[in-house]
């Protein structure tokens, strides 16, 4: 599927997710302020990171007269609404992730999307899923530089490498016996970061 990154070894763990929703001018203004607030006050972002399935997310308000017009031959758009583009990536199909948002982050979700026309609130999650189906656009191409890695895989890799690098720096001059002891300590400290990873066939 074009919304899922992959490589020759199989399907990746990066599935792009695009939802476009219309807003009134006033709604767009409020959402702009809310997103500015969420950018400055990090608590929601911290919770979203704890959920551990969002590598990159773009929230973009596209005002009705700001669709790029490069040339006079290109007619100007005449739209009734401004649009919120929500461009995210998940580690798999979006159903369970939207449920997690609805269960854990429904307040920020509702605050931002309340201003989108037709938004049904995050709970119960059934109507929200219908809303997403209506407003979702499939990607035509998706790429990830590490398709076999989920957010947790990438984090664990970085942390493990930092730990190993530190270990090499501190332990390389030790006697073999002390080295072996320190290696045991290293292994213990990274024991839950060594799972296999990779695309799935």
């Amino acid at each position: 599927m074009a919304d899922r990154a992959r490589n020759q070894h199989g399907s990746g763990k990066a599935v792009t997710f695009n939802v476009l929703t219309p807003m009134t001018r006033f709604g767009a203004f409020v959402v702009g302020l809310l997103l500015l607030f969420l950018d400055r006050v990090k608590r929601t972002q911290t919770t979203a990171k704890q959920l551990a399935f969002l590598p990159f997310v773009h929230w973009v308000i596209v005002k009705r007269d700001k669709f790029p017009r490069l040339d006079d031959s290109q007619p100007a758009e005449q739209l009734n609404y401004d649009y919120l583009f929500f461009l995210s990536t998940f580690n798999g199909p979006w159903g369970p992730y939207i449920e997690a948002f609805a269960d854990v982050l429904y307040l920020p979700l509702d605050s931002v999307w309340f201003w989108s026309i037709g938004y049904p609130f995050a709970r119960p999650v059934g109507p929200l899923k219908d809303y997403i189906h209506r407003n979702q656009v499939e990607s035509d191409h998706s790429y990830s530089a590490y398709p076999g890695a989920s957010v947790r895989d990438a984090r664990a890799g970085i942390e493990l490498r930092n730990a190993v690098q530190s270990f090499v720096k501190n332990a390389s001059a030790l006697s073999p016996d002390r080295f072996a002891l320190e290696f045991d300590r290293l292994f213990m400290s990274v024991q839950n970061k060594v799972g296999t990873f990779g695309p799935t066939t």
Binding site: P22, L70, P147, D153
Partner: protein, 197 residues
């Protein structure tokens, strides 16, 4: 505006597509993950600073049902998002023009006003004209470059392999140390390619 988060830049752009070109462009886009042509999953795998990217043709806007009004687009647009290591659009444009000139021409050649890739400043200008600023840009690992993430993943794999070796047959501490340092030195020279892991 929130285009930068740590060391990562999140580019979002809408590129108007030349009239009548959308069908051909969509077919092209959907062929870009052909692993015979691009074994690492995409032409973007040849641009080392790109973490993730997507291409989406926007040719209609969602309708919510009455009393909402129907919006109709007069042009089709190519939505391009790209998350890369850098602090300006120039970085990714230069990297793409240098590494994937052919695919870049093939894709953006369908778009209005595309100046070609020969003159980088005109190309930059073109991308900036089509750029939309993010209102919010969330990044899980804002300090990590593509290279750091790939090397971290490879280290995880090699470490697991090393443990397997040591577990199968217990080694004397001197052998353990030698083996580990050898593994580490080899790892330092391994450069996993984007899209490989």
């Amino acid at each position: 505006m929130a285009n930068q988060n740590g060391a990562n830049y999140g580019f979002t752009g809408l590129f108007p597509i030349a009239r009548g070109q959308s069908i051909e462009l969509r077919a092209l886009l959907r062929s870009l993950d052909d692993t015979k042509a691009f074994p690492r999953g995409s032409p973007f795998s040849h641009v080392p600073i790109i973490h993730m990217a997507r291409l989406v043709i926007i040719d209609c806007l969602p309708y919510q049902g009455t009393p909402a009004k129907l919006d109709t687009l007069r042009s089709d647009y190519l939505l391009f998002t790209c998350d890369f290591d850098g602090s300006s659009v120039d970085a990714v444009i230069n990297a793409m023009a240098a590494n994937i000139p052919g695919p870049m021409m093939a894709i953006w050649g369908n778009c209005i006003g595309f100046p070609g890739i020969k003159k980088h400043d005109r190309l930059s200008e073109y991308f900036e004209r089509c750029q939309l600023d993010n209102n919010l840009f969330l990044v899980d690992q804002p300090k990590a470059s593509v290279d750091e993430i790939l090397r971290g993943l490879l280290c995880r794999r090699r470490f697991g392999e090393f443990v397997e070796l040591m577990q199968r047959k217990p080694r004397k501490p001197a052998v353990l140390k030698r083996g580990f340092m050898r593994m580490w030195r080899r790892l330092e020279t391994e450069r996993p390619l984007p899209g490989d892991l």
